[in-house]
């Protein structure tokens, strides 16, 4: 990231000179959830707007609008909604009772519990350390900063199964550093931390770059210590971005398969995560169980993202409310 602005502290600065945002690294980011930058970009137009139906405009643009919305609706339906609907239908193949039975089976519940627990831990660690990494990358000058910045995205570029092998060779049996984490929940945590590293970093980074340093100086001039300034001034600004990154990391973690498949050990009730349980149920020809747990995962992910949107749009409204 360019941090030239850090050094040039002389003279007046443009008010909110929008720093170039780094491209979003995650292809998996659901629409509508994005770190809150300086501007209030129209949000969720593709998903929400399309579902609500077209507003008929006039003239050439008006003619094109229904077509555009039609394409978007069709595309989203084919790519996202149809498969999800099919999954849901499969899950309720034997009615609500069948679904409930499949989801509440002890092994299924245990796998869901392990998944949520481990993912929550991973999300929290990410919230703290991801913010710290973003902070250091934006605010500090050091050798190899560009390199470190590039490394952040590596877990995205790396196939997750490769990540699993990498971690297994480091933390597996005969670990070269004497730390054996395979087939433990800590192993899961480490694997998931690896693949979710970029989420918080990349959502906090642009907000931090754009953040007005003068606000911190103002707090200092009013007598606030560095910690007080961080807690009362910086953190509220970063809050929505941290939250959004954390939520995305959590959503990614609950569905992760490749990176945990080797190091996790797949021990039921211990380290078997939901995705592995689903795989197992498919292998033993219990598609209903697999679909039911999948729907449960889907619900968890959906609720997480929904909560995020509510919280972030609320804080955004508060700041950008017009007079």
């Amino acid at each position: 990231m360019t941090s030239d602005t850090d050094q040039q502290r002389r003279g007046p600065r443009p008010e909110t000179d929008a720093a170039p945002l780094p491209p979003r690294p995650d292809a998996t980011a659901p629409d509508g959830i994005r770190p809150r930058g300086g501007d209030a970009a129209p949000r969720g137009e593709a998903s929400g707007g399309a579902a609500r139906g077209a507003r008929h405009g006039k003239g050439l643009r008006g003619l094109r609008r229904p077509l555009g919305i039609g394409i978007v609706t069709l595309w989203l339906s084919v790519i996202v909604l149809l498969p999800l609907a099919a999954l849901t239908v499969a899950a309720f193949d034997e009615g609500l009772a069948g679904f409930w039975e499949a989801v509440t089976a002890p092994a299924a519940l245990a796998s869901l519990w392990v998944t949520v627990l481990v993912s929550a831990v991973v999300a929290l660690v990410n919230a703290v350390l991801g913010t710290l990494v973003a902070w250091v990358l934006v605010r500090d000058e050091f050798r190899g900063k560009r390199f470190v910045n590039a490394v952040i995205d590596l877990p995205f570029a790396l196939p997750t199964i490769v990540a699993s092998i990498v971690l297994l060779s480091l933390y597996g049996p005969n670990s070269p550093i004497g730390v054996e984490l395979n087939a433990t929940r800590w192993g899961l945590v480490v694997a998931l931390l690896f693949v979710t590293l970029p989420f918080v970093v990349r959502s906090v980074q642009p907000v931090l770059i754009e953040a007005d340093r003068e606000v911190e100086e103002a707090a200092a001039s009013l007598g606030a210590t560095t910690w007080t300034t961080f807690r009362r001034i910086v953190l509220p600004t970063l809050g929505p971005a941290i939250l959004s990154g954390t939520g995305l990391a959590f959503a990614r973690a609950i569905g992760e398969y490749g990176s945990v498949v080797l190091i996790g050990g797949n021990i039921p009730r211990e380290t078997q995560v939901a995705s592995q349980y689903i795989q197992q149920q498919i292998e033993i020809d219990r598609p209903l169980n697999a679909a039911a747990v999948s729907v449960a995962l889907l619900a968890i992910a959906f609720v997480t993202l929904l909560l995020l949107r509510v919280v972030s749009s609320r804080s955004q409204r508060r700041e950008e409310r017009d007079a």
Partner: protein
């Protein structure tokens, strides 16, 4: 009293402050005036402790604060772009300095209400900064800075981001506020009109050095050098001398011009010039002229004089200097 002694600050090869020494009397409203890159903001930020000096000292009311962080300097700082705490209401913004000092709630509330009344934001307590205009935000920032009872109030181009009308209103308002509050105030500006308008002392900076310090009248009428003269108001080059445009008189008759000019000692003489343009500026009229030598200059005359002269573009007129404001270096005899 703020005393800056031999302050130096280097950014790479660029000297932002080059051996600057300055005394700012208690209770004064001093403007640091200069073009961008002159070091005026760096000087202000060094007084605040937001910038660390390479060498030199800063004392505030007799206390050496050179090595103190901004938190312990007893200052209030106002930024050009308000630096409002966007997630806090106006009340919380103003109360911030008191809240973190854990002052009793009632005391804080009373103080905040008082200040909001002073800055004219009474009734805006529960608004967020985004709901205020630029001028209101800056007044909120002022109240916030004043809340901690600073020994000195430092303003960094406080009106720079506001439009012209609000800017003039607000600086008048600041002047009145200063007369009420009497806190030692230092204001950075690149706008000479603003400096002349609000400050009772002006320090002119250029290239990291102080060119001249004095009250507005002295600076305007007895500038220490060409730079100060040029920076505080417009100047015209007339026969190799710097003259204020309103110190140029235009005559139709050359003989009259010569006779009148003879009474002015060390004048640049009578210059014949072609009228290029006549620009009405409201109360005054600016006449753009081109001398025989090819040199262009402008004279500023009253509407009445302009009406009497009946100037037409393209005709030749005779210009002479009547003014007494001239650079001290060049012409000590003219200094009052």
């Amino acid at each position: 009293m703020i005393t800056v002694t031999s302050a130096r600050k280097q950014y790479g090869a660029f000297a932002a402050l080059d051996d600057v020494s300055l005394d700012i009397p208690s209770g004064s409203l001093t403007a640091l005036l200069g073009p961008s890159g002159s070091g005026k903001s760096t000087l202000l930020r060094s007084i605040a402790g937001l910038e660390e000096l390479d060498s030199g000292t800063v004392t505030i009311e007799g206390r050496d604060v050179t090595d103190e962080p901004p938190q312990r300097r007893g200052i209030g700082f106002v930024f050009q772009h308000y630096a409002a705490f966007k997630h806090m209401t106006v009340r919380d913004n103003v109360a911030f300095g008191l809240t973190i000092r854990k002052r009793p709630k009632a005391e804080t509330a009373k103080k905040v209400d008082e200040l909001l009344e002073i800055v004219g934001l009474d009734g805006f307590q529960h608004r967020y900064p985004a709901q205020l205009s630029g001028g209101q935000r800056q007044r909120m920032a002022l109240a916030r800075a004043l809340a901690v009872d600073p020994q000195v109030l430092l303003l960094d181009e406080p009106f720079g981001a506001l439009d012209a009308k609000v800017r003039t209103d607000l600086r008048q308002w600041l002047r009145r506020l200063h007369d009420e509050v009497h806190v030692t105030t230092v204001l950075v500006t690149h706008d000479q009109e603003e400096a002349l308008d609000v400050a009772d002392r002006i320090a002119v900076l250029n290239k990291g050095r102080i060119e001249q310090v004095g009250d507005p009248v002295t600076l305007y009428e007895r500038p220490a050098n060409d730079f100060v003269m040029g920076f505080l108001g417009s100047v015209a080059h007339l026969g190799g001398q710097l003259v204020r445009p309103h110190d140029i008189a235009l005559e139709r008759d050359r003989a009259t011009a010569l006779a009148l000019d003879a009474k002015v000692p060390d004048s640049p003489g009578v210059i014949d010039a072609v009228v290029e343009r006549v620009v009405p500026l409201g109360f005054e009229v600016r006449v753009d002229l081109r001398a025989d030598s090819g040199e262009r200059f402008a004279a500023q005359i009253t509407r009445r004089d302009a009406a009497e002269l009946q100037l037409r573009e393209g005709e030749t007129i005779h210009a002479r200097a009547v003014g007494r404001s001239s650079v001290v270096d060049h012409d000590p005899a003219l200094a009052i």
